[in-house]
């Protein structure tokens, strides 16, 4: 297959991007351990994990920059494992964008078309259209170094999209943006990727980014996928304690489960609350309740229906105040409250609101 053939496979026609049992070893370190993943056209899947979890290696294998030791990469039913990157026709957005510093904005965007032998006039036209598509219509002639971080990121996205890729791969696309820009780029990026209607695989260490834009999230740890599901599934029905630890701020407290209710004993006081029906099935060996801020409320110190704790810190969060409360050494819960009566260092009561709480087994 030549470069031009790859280009002929235009957006949407390539089918599902599949990773099958991918393994990759660096020396004695198993970086990717039997990872399988499907990304359908129009779907946005986020690979989430801490640094060193193997997420970037997985992405690089999908892109063809690394060869797996075992397993295969497919588009539709075509095995492309051994195809070099320039033959894959994928669009990739790099963490630091990797814009060519010696080219103008539109030359950058047109580069992939240039490599495909598109005439100068046609490729500049397409590049300008792509730039307009990401809201940078007038910036084509500027040197890339004059752009802000957010603008550079849009150029990188336009450059990946303009070739009509068969899949889009994004490496930490939001991690270099400041928090305000990050919020707005999440929405823009999500809209752009959906519009392209190709499989999109995104790597991030930030689960908030992943939850905000991905259709499905695959949580990676030590090279293995711990769970692959929608954000709601991961949040409400984590497959394991490790997943629960990674996602959301919740106190993980050992509990006993019976009849759709969980009972937690802290400081000698046992209090029970309803279990989220989705998660009951996981309440096997050593179940833990995931007590998140929205499940808890403050009570008076000494209230008989509440656990007791000490306020460690408080954080103003607009509509509410979030308290960090140590209820027992090692058990720290976050509670959102609307009043600001509890000061740091004071004793307070904490009780379940009575809303269903997810439970996870070890």
């Amino acid at each position: 297959m030549t470069v031009r053939d790859a280009a002929a496979g235009t957006a949407g026609s390539g089918g599902t991007l599949s990773l099958r049992n991918i393994r990759r070893r660096f020396g004695s370190h198993l970086a990717v351990d039997d990872v399988s993943l499907d990304v359908a056209p129009g779907e946005l899947v986020a690979l989430v994990g801490a640094s060193g979890s193997g997420k970037t290696t997985t992405l690089r294998i999908a892109a063809g920059y690394e060869q797996p030791d075992g397993g295969s990469v497919l588009v539709g039913d075509k095995d492309i494992t051994r195809l070099p990157p320039q033959m894959r026709g994928f669009g990739m957005v790099f963490q630091h964008y990797a814009l060519f510093p010696h080219m103008s904005v539109e030359q950058n965007v047109a580069f992939g078309l240039e490599a495909r032998g598109v005439s100068r006039k046609a490729r500049l036209e397409k590049a300008r259209a792509a730039l307009t598509g990401v809201g940078l219509g007038g910036a084509g002639g500027r040197p890339v170094q004059s752009l802000s971080g957010g603008e550079q990121q849009r150029v990188a996205v336009a450059r990946a999209l303009v070739i009509g890729p068969r899949a889009l791969l994004l490496d930490e696309p939001l991690s270099n943006l400041d928090p305000v820009l990050r919020q707005s780029m999440r929405d823009d990026l999500s809209a752009l990727l959906r519009h392209a209607n190709v499989p999109a695989l995104l790597v991030t260490h930030d689960q908030e980014d992943a939850f905000a834009i991905a259709d499905r999230v695959a949580l990676l740890s030590k090279g293995r996928i711990l769970q692959n599901g929608t954000p709601a599934e991961l949040y409400n029905n984590p497959a394991s304690l490790d997943v629960a630890k990674f996602i959301g701020r919740g106190a993980l407290v050992p509990c006993t489960v019976s009849d759709g209710r969980a009972a937690v004993s802290i400081g000698g006081r046992e209090i029970s609350f309803p279990v989220l029906s989705d998660s009951v099935g996981h309440a096997g060996r050593r179940p833990h309740a995931i007590l998140r801020p929205e499940h808890l409320e403050l009570a008076d110190s000494g209230a008989s229906d509440a656990w007791q704790g000490t306020v460690l810190a408080r954080r103003f969060a607009g509509s509410s105040i979030v308290y960090r409360i140590e209820m027992e050494p090692g058990i720290i819960a976050e509670v959102s409250g609307t009043d600001d009566r509890a000061q740091i260092g004071t004793r307070v009561g904490v009780r379940p609101r009575g809303t269903p709480v997810p439970v996870v087994a070890e």
Binding site: P85, Q86, F100, P101
Partner: protein
Amino acid sequence: MRRSAAGTWLLALPVLVLLLWTVLYPNAAVIVGSFEGGLAHWREFLASPADREALSSTLIISVASVFAALVIGVPLAFLLTRFEFPGRRALRIVATLPAALPPLVGVISFLFLYGESGVVTRAVQDLFGMDEAPWRLTGIWAIVFVHAYTMYVFVFLFVSAGLERFDTSLDEAAAGLGASPRHRLRRVTLPLLIPAIAGSMLLVFMNSLGSFSAPYVFGGGIRVLSTQILASKLNGAMGLAYVETTVLALSAVAALGLFRILQRKQRVVSTGKGSVTRRAISSHGLRIALAIAGAVVVIALILPHLMVILVSFARDGVWTTQILPPEYTLENYRRLATDAQLWRPISNSVLMALIATAANIVVCFVAAYLLVLRRFSGRPLLGLLVALPWAIPATAIALGLAATFNQSDIWTGRVVLVGTFWILPLAYFIRNIPLVATAAESSLRQLDPALEDAARGLGASWWLTMRKVVIPAARPGLIAGGLLAAVTAVGEFVASIVLYTHANRPISIEILAQLRALAFGTAAAYSVLLILLVLAMAIGARTVEEQYA
């Protein structure tokens, strides 16, 4: 930083005066001298076929040397930074060895190897049963050959550094966008390497322009500007020598100016963090071929060093028509150490190098301090004076000194130094100003300027701040720069041959004299001594850099 302007000037004035007097004045004197008697000397220069030939040979040699250095240096840099194969590390170390040969020693080793009665030449002649030498090591191409060997190192080092810094994600991005390896090389890698390549081209060009040893030793009938200058001076045609010197210096300055203009047009900035991934060569056949080619290159690169070492043990006067010297002895070294006449050049070179380097360290430290940490109106002038000796070929510098310090005249600021011991240390000092100053500047630039203020703010006196903050910050650069300066001064040849006297003759001049007397063993023993000195100091400089890095 607000500090009393008077204090700054108090420090700056002596340095400025010294540099104006030793760096600018002699060169100005040469230019003025070339117009003595109107345009007569210039007409003489233009009318002389020898000078026209010298000018064109100089330019041809310089341009050809640049291309030869590129042809060797660029592929070697790519091979050694981008690929992994057996013997890569050894090749990487050996690749910089030609830089450890003082220029004259490099030339001599080539004579021993490839000259008319050189080892390689004779071996080839014997092998094919030829009646005479298969080639002659004379003329433009012989000079370019030596230049290519000694100067490709600049290209190799610059391009290697550029490739190490190169952001591999750019290459990956281009690949992901469908660009073939060739397209990536042409459109991404090479354009981003242009600053490194251009910088090294300039260095090779400037070095070739001022090159003296190679044309002097195997020029044969070839004239170049630097040798013409010496010839004119020896003939007493000082006016013509001034014109030739002016032309040579102006060519160098013009090349530098052209380079600066091109550099300004190039808007590309280096691409930050580099992460080089070397591709292992997987094809078995290619690995073997590369290992063999690597071994051949390694041998070719260290052959000159080995040859000089071998000849240094050869008994003088018995090596005539044999391929290799027939008799070996330690006599040469013993004589260097015991014969006062032979020891003299060694003590001269070491002493003069020490004096020049000590002066370099003091003056260049003050200049670097002023350039980096002080803002004052004399700064641009100081920067120019410090950089100027780099742009002017050594022969031109030497001739300037010969023209200026040949008589005593207080009113024009002249003192007799020519014919005395001091003229050579002065020449070495001037040549090494840019080297030491740049090293000191780069060390000082790493010092947060606020530190000096902070120290003063804590109540430290100017002198205490200097001793405890500024000098320690400049120290690594001063030591490394000073060692390199001493290396250059110990083996200096080009300025020495214009200015030496019998009493202060340095090693390089003695090597040439021994060579003329056909005492190859003695000449080689001196050369080995020089190489050892150079290696010791280069290792010292690197150790210092690593220690402070």
